[in-house]
Symmetry: C2
Subunit: 413 residues, 2 copies
């Protein structure tokens, strides 16, 4: 597997585009399309929030009706949630207009929305911009970039990734992806949550069933291990489209393909965490020595989600007790006297907790060296060993800053 520069248009036979249709007052792009030249096998995982946005309801239904799709139409700026039957009708009208505009079959586009919960979808604005969107859609890398920008809300940067995978038989396929996510992030997709959107394209030949399995499995260890604020959105959606445009045999049972798809999801998840609202630092928590995978995930998520750990990381405060405290309430089985925690710097790991006690120098408000190190690091990689078994997991998050409060105290204004 090779990471390449690119995004959702890196696999063959995919085009993308993004324009501004006037929903965002800022004038930033807010309408985007992702299209496969021909029919693609499709899969999706969705929020587990009981209050589901209209596009989630439609996406679930359309995938149940048929797993062959042509693309994804995304509106950013409004969530189209809490809008009832009218919200669903609004989105259906917009999708039908887009299907006509792009010359694809009825019900072949999947919808996604992200933004403020409550307002109705401004259908006329979006419909009026479809011609411009079609004109701005293409197969180039710049087109993928425009689409990746048009799905953002409070994000500070777009999130893209592409990999090139050599299958067992020797043929080469590509997998691309884009994502958005900045606040209301604590996805539990499939099972999942938070407004996180992720779209994956591939020119490999994969059955819808296999794609669905790989996507659900991959999301568990990637998107669902990201936590920015513990709030599970009404709109979380990750879609995957496989159009088979690369010639070659089925990738269904190819481990290299599975690995490539996982890598794309992991890269996107990491980018989402790094761009958490107000984040100044990426927090990566790797837990090992857990009794089960579920214990490892619970422990990693608890640390990355702890408001107090996040605030301490923002303040570069080596307040290691808060890490132990979060592990203690995580639900993971552990022995408080055999916890080990360190900052996993290559070649120079820095111990924080050893055998369940603060590392020397950290027990009494000390730790100037660790404090200086935390100040410098843009990514804080915590390594935790529960010393109880062999399971491991990684979770991604970010610090809690004044900017997070500012952004969310006045998001709509």
């Amino acid at each position: 597997m090779l990471t390449i520069a690119g995004g959702v248009t890196s696999p063959k036979g995919f085009s993308a585009g993004g324009v501004s249709c006037g929903i965002k007052r800022s004038g930033r792009p807010d309408l985007s399309i992702l299209l496969s030249d021909g029919p693609a096998e499709a899969a999706g995982v969705f929020t587990t929030n009981l209050v589901r946005a209209a596009p989630v309801e439609i996406g679930i239904r359309r995938l149940r009706e048929s797993a062959t799709k042509r693309g994804i139409l995304t509106v950013s700026g409004v969530a189209n949630a809490l809008t009832g039957a009218e919200g669903i009708a609004d989105n259906e009208v917009l999708l039908a207009a887009a299907e006509r505009q792009f010359g694809v079959p009825a019900a072949s586009l999947l919808p996604a929305c992200t933004g403020v919960i409550g307002p109705r979808l401004p259908v006329p604005k979006a419909v009026a911009a479809l011609g411009a969107l079609a004109a701005a859609t293409g197969h180039e890398r710049a087109d993928a970039e425009r689409a990746a920008h048009a799905i953002l809300t409070t994000d500070t940067r777009s999130k893209e990734v592409a990999v090139r995978v050599r299958l067992a038989g020797g043929s080469v396929v590509r997998i691309g992806g884009m994502a958005k996510g900045s606040g209301m992030i604590s996805p539990r997709l499939a099972r999942a949550h938070a407004t996180t959107l992720g779209f994956v394209t591939t020119d490999a030949r994969v059955s819808a069933d296999r794609l669905s399995t790989l996507l659900a499995h991959g999301v568990e260890g990637t998107f669902n291990m990201v936590d920015v604020d513990g709030d599970t959105s009404t709109n979380d959606t990750v879609y995957a489209l496989a159009n088979g445009a690369a010639s070659g045999p089925s990738a269904d049972d190819d481990p290299a393909f599975a690995e490539g798809l996982y890598a794309v999801l992991e890269s996107l998840a990491r980018q989402v965490a790094h761009d958490g609202e107000g984040a100044t630092k990426l927090l990566t928590v790797h837990v090992r020595g857990a009794r089960t995978l579920s214990d490892a995930r619970a422990a990693a998520r608890a640390v990355v989600s702890s408001t107090l750990v996040k605030a301490a990381i923002f303040g570069a405060d080596p307040n290691v007790g808060r890490i132990a405290c979060a592990l203690g309430y995580s639900g993971a089985r552990l022995d408080p006297d055999s916890l080990d925690v360190s900052i996993a710097r290559p070649r120079q790991p820095v111990p924080l907790i050893v055998d369940g006690r603060p590392a020397p120098g950290l027990d009494n408000g000390g730790g100037r060296r660790v404090r200086d190190l935390l100040r410098q690091l843009e990514e804080v990689p915590l390594e935790i060993d529960l010393n109880r078994g062999r399971a491991s997991a990684t979770a991604w998050g970010c610090d809690l800053s004044y900017a997070y409060v500012q952004i969310n105290a006045a998001y709509r204004t």
Copy 2:
């Protein structure tokens, strides 16, 4: 039941006191005692965090050995957590010295600590101050106030309450309480968490078994329904002492006593929420129409714990979608199309969500009137009807402010 001015010394036969022993650099009081003149029936509920502070371990063990106790010795400024066997030995030494100082039997004092996790308990400092503590201990209201101040950490004010209850037979008893709690608050006592300490005294005659049952039951609906930051502390403890100093029959089966005890716990829980770190507003969420009590509690807790709801309340932003979103992931059974949410102002309730839709004027970034109202209110009382059944519950929390981040980014410095 009558609420009276007072605290833990309002019931007969209880003395209290607090002094500074030099643990807090600020010089604020950090060592406190609560004593019953004679033997008292005792009960306790403790954090469910697997990483338990030394005083929690000792408190659990001492109550298991005997339910007859004489008082509670609290140290604030250090949690005595993550300190292993030495931490337990440290606390035992301090308790033994205090038992000698106050002339009470060995193992008759219960311990509590709150503060930074990691550092060892400064036993010599605390022991050296026991004489001064004894001199400063008395039965007056001012003594209870001093004790209530000495258990605080980042709290901005002490939390006290007292009630007078007339039992069925006509005799009168008193119940008093004090608490601390400001950050790391998301108690799941008995089951419970967050550094929340609560101490309840009563001169009623109650058996230890009954006291334990009433305490565990009461904490479920009060302390365990408070959430400041979702972090469950290593040190949470609520103790109750009943010394029977008021003459009269047993209050074991007296509903007025049970009601009085619950009212004391609820008042303390509310005071803890109101003094949440950095809080500018108290958030009270009352859920009704739930199918079960457990659904009602889950729904109320989810709203009060939502970082996004808390930030919106701080910003006086009527972002009602965030409330619906939190209800959606709460785990409570609900129908998104029949949610009703309002600000429960006496005589003038203000609708926020009606039949699962934003109330008129709130759907499109509007709501200047609601915004003005939110700005004025020091307490925001949300009333939520799930319209699915008859169960109800209340949760208490606070808004998320810049000050919360500031306090927790540099708590130790």
